[in-house]
Symmetry: C2
Subunit: 323 residues, 2 copies
């Protein structure tokens, strides 16, 4: 990882979709590593967290604005998601337009720019669909049961096509379920943030299904290190899973939250499952371990605790001991 | 195949993209089997060949026209291709819109219709990209080097999604390089038709590359039988290669054409290769053999001869002996 840190210093890079959870964390880390960071997004969810970043407000569908933002950058992070996994199934055409179609416009811009490398945040939680076995390697079948995963897959294929036709290099990270500071619980994505927020507010935790749905939760600091390593990676592989490589059920998460909040058992309500839910998703991270030397470094309870502490400060709750 | 023939009789079916090469052949066969055939397309390339078919002129992008056409049909063939493999790389966004996005609108129509089954003509020649080995099984990696193949792949994934979410059944046929009557040589698709037409016109045959590019050429009568078998298929597999299961080089095709035209050696001109060309494509057809009991029945030279004879009649060339 040392080489990655050296190579990123002074680099002019653009983060698309920078205002959200992953984007905010990534921009802060890039700045700390000495990169010159331009950040493009609809809005900054956490303006104070992005000090030192050159912020450009814009819609991903505004081709001229994207073209202006791309100019002069050699490294590009594509973190834009114009939809959410569940709502994508209500209007797959809108999802395809907002994601794949707009990414094609971005790629056309990149063809005539200085961009040498694109790092794309794909979705380890949706591109595989219902896995035949876990952990899931990158070579597993990709049969999404959410439109969100299909447009992510299409973008992956277009990146490979543009490299083939136009020589633009790329690395794709199929990221599992990230959690940590700067993730808000008000969207359906981010179950840990949502649960912590409910717990802090003293509300009943709503659980879809029986709480035994298993996901691969990975701490945002680890995800950010993978995004940094991907930027400078130059090898035969261009597609990597990024996850903990281990699964946790919703019920286990709640136990973890109960442990770090230290407020006893939290009130829970179990509700009917959702059709976009796959029963289990755990990513095989052997490839990124081997090729990029990356692996998750974070301790589970310490990560949960840091997340709860951030959420506590964010929401202004006080006097609720976070262990 | 007998059961297929019985089940298709009297069935109300709609062929989308019916005016072209595969569509014209399929409609004729469906009629012969006693199906009630509605045919939807931009235009009939061969109006006289579609007698007995209820023809609906329309654009695939005209959602209201597609919705009206779908009404009352339980079986739907989706043969629409709004682009060609090569030109798709000049404007991948247009290709994605014309194909995947419009297919999503079709699928939304199907959700609220009587359609029980969709048979989709995918592309065995483009979805796999450059294969690591041949023949290519359905489980091989799908890394297209033409945007055309990416939108076909996306459509495959959306069909699976709509079955998962809404119960619409489907069968996908990844068709290799079909040839035969009702294929015209004026488009870049259909190298055999193009070569025969040039040969009949006494023009020099233009060959991209050294003529050693290998493709899996399959006769249209065999493709049509696979489309019929797919319509009534009900099993765990929903995705099948359709090809000869064997490869032929462009030079071998030319030898074949020379043999059936019986006019001696034809004049040839070798030109630079194209970036969308994969060096070799041969499909593994073990799965469709086993699951659908389908296999190619046609003799190579007899098929070429029938194709040349059709082209001769079509173009009004006379006195050129086709063996």
């Amino acid at each position: 990882m040392h080489s990655a840190i050296d190579e990123i210093a002074g680099k002019q890079c653009l983060v698309l979709g920078a205002g959200g959870f992953i984007g905010t964390n990534l921009c802060r880390r890039l700045l700390k590593l000495g990169a010159k960071v331009q950040a493009f997004g609809r809005s900054k969810t956490f303006p104070e967290a992005l000090e030192g970043v050159t912020w450009i407000s814009g819609e991903f569908s505004d081709h001229a604005a994207v073209a202006r933002a791309v100019e002069g950058n050699e490294l590009l992070y594509h973190l834009v998601s114009g939809s959410l996994p569940e709502s994508s199934n209500m209007d797959p055409a809108a999802d395809l337009s907002a994601n794949a179609l707009q990414t094609l416009h971005l790629l056309e811009v990149c063809r005539v720019s200085n961009v040498r490398k694109i790092v794309f945040a794909s979705s380890g939680g949706t591109v595989y669909g219902v896995p035949s076995h876990v952990p899931i390697p990158e070579t597993a079948p990709t049969d999404p049961i959410a439109a969100y995963g299909i447009s992510k897959l299409a973008i992956e294929k277009y990146l490979a096509l543009y490299r083939h036709l136009h020589g633009i290099d790329y690395t794709i990270l199929r990221i599992a379920n990230p959690f940590g500071p700067f993730q808000l619980g008000h969207r359906k994505q981010g179950v840990i943030a949502a649960l912590i927020q409910k717990a802090l507010a003293g509300e009943t935790l709503e659980i879809w299904g029986d709480g035994e749905v298993i996901r691969d939760f990975v701490y945002i600091d680890d995800v950010v290190e993978a995004l940094i390593a991907a930027a400078i990676h130059d090898g035969p592989h261009r597609l990597f899973n990024v996850g903990q490589g281990a699964g946790r059920s919703i019920n286990q998460i709640i136990s973890g939250i109960e442990a770090v909040l230290n407020r006893g058992e939290l009130p829970k309500l179990y509700k009917a499952g959702r059709p976009t839910d796959v029963p289990v998703n755990i990513l095989d991270i052997a490839l990124i371990r081997r090729e990029l030397g990356w692996e998750p470094q974070s301790d589970w309870l310490a990560s949960l605790s840091a997340t709860a502490e951030w959420m506590t400060n964010r929401l202004g709750y006080t006097g609720m001991g976070v262990v």
